[in-house]
């Protein structure tokens, strides 16, 4: 019998930078981003796809970094909170979260921001219920969610007013 493959070489883009790495095939994407690349802004809350803390953007769509293996991200374009922060694309959301205190411990926050940004990209003027629905895959133990909904709604209004 052949020895099982333990490691694989992957090539991907992460936050705009080319990355080439040899990874154990069993390592999940969020562990790879955090441990191998030092992108510790993505968090791990459950490792079974429920809490949403590990949310990252893979080829433009938000995904759970704990449910993907790093090798599945081969040839993908990944964006993490670090990239979204540096590019300025979520600056309005970050500012609204800050003003409205839409975070307490901040552990859920990077994922909340990426999820909210994905919602606003699809629907510039969501209702409060739609915002709540969209965020309902992201667990936050601290805030009770209302401030997060307020912050997203505030940004949506601004986006709407400009459009």
């Amino acid at each position: 019998m052949n020895e099982p493959v333990k490691n694989m070489r992957i090539i991907l883009r992460v936050n705009g930078e080319a990355v080439e790495a040899e990874v154990p095939v069993r390592r999940n994407l969020v562990d790879f981003l955090r441990g191998d690349l030092g992108l510790t802004g993505s968090h791990v809350g459950c490792e079974h796809g429920v809490c949403g803390a590990c949310t990252v953007v893979v080829d433009g769509a938000i995904m759970r970094g704990c449910l993907l293996l790093a090798v599945q991200a081969d040839r993908c374009d990944i964006e993490t909170i670090e990239g979204a922060d540096e590019s300025g694309r979520i600056a309005a959301l970050q500012a609204a979260f800050h003003r409205r205190n839409a975070l307490q411990c901040g552990f859920c926050t990077p994922a909340m921001l990426l999820t909210a940004a994905a919602l606003l990209a699809q629907n510039g003027n969501p209702t409060r219920d739609e915002i709540r629905e969209c965020l309902s895959g992201n667990f936050c133990r601290c805030t009770g969610y209302q401030a997060i909904v307020d912050a997203v709604a505030e940004v949506a209004e601004v986006v709407e007013a400009k459009a």
């Binding site: 955090r34 309902s136 895959g137 969610y145």
Partner: protein
């Protein structure tokens, strides 16, 4: 007294900016050179003897550095007992870092593997062979206290850990003479804090200097420093506990955990950094749980709705061990002290029993005992009003303690200063038109929509004073210290003994310092969460930050301000009294004309001290300390009102409105206080409707993942209206009381009463938490 801005303003938090940029630093984000990772072999049985451990193959696995059993750690780390000196009759068993002969709960750590990576450590745990001999399982308190039950700790000679009874007045006669007596049995099932970031730490022992540094997701760095020093026999001045960003704590991170102690002992044994981060299953199995109480309660009423007597019987358990260092008595002890507290009543009896049994340890999670006391009391009031044919609001108004009754010591022994029960109710009824609600409720019922309203009044015991743990013999600081240092450039560094897991106490303290000294917010930088750098304090627990650390900051601020003005007075040849500090400058106190910048004062203080005459107090590093006296607690009070619909076909509950009126005295930052309340309410709703550990008859946990332990998510949660009264405490200058648990305290009671009100046409009476759809449908007789 009036305090100047920014005290009292809704300002956002500095720390939030970092977290929003993904630049937080949580403990699992830290990597140290030569760091090892720890994974555990945990008992798969709720109760089993550990016969033989064979780790030969596991030790040869790739990356494995050391495999440790209880015997290996026996000489490295001492054992402990979760006793409490205020309760001398309480019994607590000896606990060790790793279980040695017997595992007493499913998930108890038995073997630890240190390896190069977590994955390799976990691989090796699977190859450790343990020969278990299963033992009989005690899964509930009633059975554990039965005559036939074997002692799970032979050394204690029985499973009764604690018994207490309070009695005042003539309870039996009062019940005998009552017009109406209501009685109910309540079940509060088990849940926990579920911080999104699990527990975790990196222990870094350096044998060359005999120094231990622990980076830990924790609420109480100074408490841990003391424990690690004593249990590992390291001089305390060589132990440093650093709490980086902490991803939620809620009480579950202010204890000593056996698995965490194992990781620290492993670092001492190996002389290398060791990281242990609990995964979600380990969190559910091993984090401190709360509730799991059965309360049988009676309340006696006069025909007019006066409360004549209350009788409470609480049965609960500590799990297999009493939590350390605080012990597990408090939840039951709070219940017997708090039931009935908002109301005038003379005859009171309450007893509590705590057992040991084969489940994970149970203890302090946000709002210890309070939600239970509140739900029991407030549901009995509703039941009594219903039996008497009276409006439950009218009964509350009649029976609440009035201003003229206070100050008072309650039958449960709690000293109340000036509670504002009537004011809170008045404010709630300004917001909610109760007549309109009742009319709408009747209209909706005709259409088959079942809407209910529930009120829950409570007292929250905040800011525990030093007497509680001081007299208990525990090394837990209930005083607070604040150190301020004016830098040569005029900015202020602030170090506090409180810690911030997101509540925003750092910002509250920053506001106090800025307001008292007279400088802009940006000129003050607050540092916390480091047992070496920060002056001694208790960290964060029990709604204490603003009341205690805020007062210490006020005192430090006053000293610094005075010394700055002393120096300025010398430089300006004016009396310090004629000067003030505003906007970061020394000004004339009367005209407000600017004299000099703080940096000019600081420059003299730092570099030209010879220009200041002897005897002028001119220290630019000052300490303020606050320890309350002669009070165990600082009671705050509040009221929750829930309005919700119950679907009688599905048993689902949908919120329509949720209102909290709270009185925490002076508010440092209204926005942050409101958000504390909202987060607390949602956590309380979790316990009311969703969260519950489910065990089978053999004592095995059935729901150890976030997929089947339900937590509140955004879609089901209501917007929460928050109102405040501000009755400052007279025991401190700042006048702040605590608020961190107020949201959680009233939620179970309000939801319970609202659900029962919604379904009152069905003679519905449910008093088992959480109020899940199956329980609601069963009570309706639909399933």
């Amino acid at each position: 007294m009036k305090f100047q801005a920014p005290i009292g303003l809704s300002l956002p938090r500095d720390r939030a900016k970092r977290l929003l940029a993904g630049r937080g630093q949580f403990v699992d984000d830290i990597q140290l050179p030569r760091m090892l990772h720890l994974a555990f072999v945990r008992s798969p049985y709720p109760h089993a003897r550990i016969a033989v451990i064979d780790a030969v193959e596991a030790a040869a696995m790739p990356g494995v550095v050391r495999i440790m059993t209880g015997a290996d750690l026996a000489g490295v780390v001492s054992s402990w007992r979760g006793t409490h000196g205020l309760f001398p009759d309480m019994k607590a068993p000896e606990q060790t870092a790793l279980a040695t002969d017997t595992a007493r709960w499913q998930g108890e750590a038995v073997v630890a593997v240190a390896a190069r990576s977590r994955a390799e450590a976990e691989d090796a745990t699977e190859q450790v062979i343990v020969d278990w001999e299963e033992l009989p399982v005690l899964g509930d308190a009633q059975t554990a206290l039965g005559d036939a039950a074997p002692s799970i700790h032979a050394e204690l000679g029985g499973n009764l850990a604690f018994f207490a009874e309070i009695e005042q007045g003539d309870v039996e006669t009062a019940f005998g003479d009552a017009h109406v007596v209501v009685e109910r049995r309540f079940r509060f099932n088990r849940h926990t804090g579920v911080s999104l970031e699990p527990r975790g730490l990196i222990a870094d022992y350096d044998p060359a200097s005999h120094r231990l540094t622990v980076h830990q997701s924790h609420q109480t760095p100074h408490q841990q420093q003391d424990l690690y020093a004593r249990l590992l026999n390291i001089p305390e001045q060589n132990v440093r506990v650093i709490c980086p960003d902490v991803g939620g704590a809620f009480g579950l991170k202010h204890h000593l955990y056996a698995d965490e102690m194992t990781a620290i002992a492993a670092s001492k044994l190996l002389g290398r950094p060791v990281k242990y981060i609990a995964d979600r299953l380990e969190s559910f199995l091993g984090d401190i749980h709360c509730r799991d109480h059965t309360v049988t309660a009676r309340m006696a009423f006069s025909a007019e709705g006066d409360i004549l007597a209350i009788d409470i019987d609480d049965l609960f358990h500590a799990g297999a061990y009493s939590q350390y260092p605080r012990s597990s008595v408090a939840e039951g002890n709070q219940i017997i002290r708090l039931c009935g507290i908002p109301y005038r009543h003379e005859h009171y009896r309450a007893k509590v029993r705590m057992a040991y049994l084969n489940k994970s340890p149970l203890g302090h999670i946000r709002s210890v005992g309070h939600p239970i006391a509140c739900a029991v009391t407030e549901h009995l009031v509703d039941l009594g009003a219903k039996r008497l044919g009276l409006d439950p609001i009218a009964v509350r108004r009649r029976a609440y303690l009035r201003d003229e009754d206070c100050p008072i010591v309650s039958p449960g022994g709690i000293a109340l200063e000036r509670p504002s029960f009537h004011g809170c109710l008045d404010r709630a009824l300004e917001r909610i038109d109760i007549d309109a609600f009742r009319a709408e409720q009747a209209r909706l019922r005709e259409r088959g929509v079942h809407r209910g309203i529930g009120f829950a009044t409570f007292v929250d015991l905040t800011a525990i004073g030093p007497e509680y743990y001081g007299e208990g013999g525990q090394h837990i600081s209930a005083q607070e210290t604040c150190l301020l240092r004016l830098e040569a450039s005029g900015g202020i560094r602030c170090y506090t003994g409180a810690t911030d897991q997101g509540q925003g106490i750092d910002t509250g303290i920053q506001q106090v310092v800025a307001g008292i000294v007279g400088v802009p917010m940006d000129d003050v930088k607050v540092n916390s969460g480091d047992s070496e750098l920060c002056p001694v304090g208790g960290g964060s627990w029990g709604s204490r930050g603003a009341a205690l650390a805020g007062e210490a900051a006020l005192r430090a601020g006053r000293k610094l301000r005075l010394n700055i003005l002393n120096i300025a007075g010398v430089l300006l040849q004016k009396s310090a009294n004629s000067l003030d500090i505003r906007g970061g400058s020394v000004v004339d106190a009367v005209s407000g004309a600017t004299h000099m910048a703080l940096s000019e004062v600081a420059e003299v203080g730092h570099f030209k001290p010879y220009t200041i005459p002897d005897g002028v107090a001119a220290d630019l590093t000052v300490i303020g300390r606050y320890a309350s006296r002669n009070r165990m607690f600082l009671p705050a009070n509040g009221l929750h009102v829930a309005i919700l619909d119950v679907d009688t076909d599905t048993g689902l509950v949908e919120f329509r409105r949720y209102l909290v009126v709270h009185d925490c005295g002076r508010i440092l930052n209204p926005m942050l206080v409101d958000e504390q309340v909202r987060g607390g309410v949602v956590q309380g709703i979790g316990g009311a409707l969703y969260e519950e550990f489910i065990y089978d008859d053999d004592g095995y946990l059935r729901n150890g993942t976030l997929a089947d332990y339900l937590v509140p998510m955004a879609a089901e949660m209501p917007d929460i209206e928050v109102e405040h009264l501000q009755t400052p405490t007279t025991t401190s200058e700042l006048g702040a009381k605590g608020v961190g648990e107020a949201g959680t305290t009233g939620a179970m009671g309000a939801v319970l009463n609202a659900v029962n009100d919604a379904l009152s046409p069905f003679e519905f009476n449910l008093s088992e938490f959480p109020l899940t759809p199956p329980r609601i449908l069963r009570t309706l007789g639909k399933i």
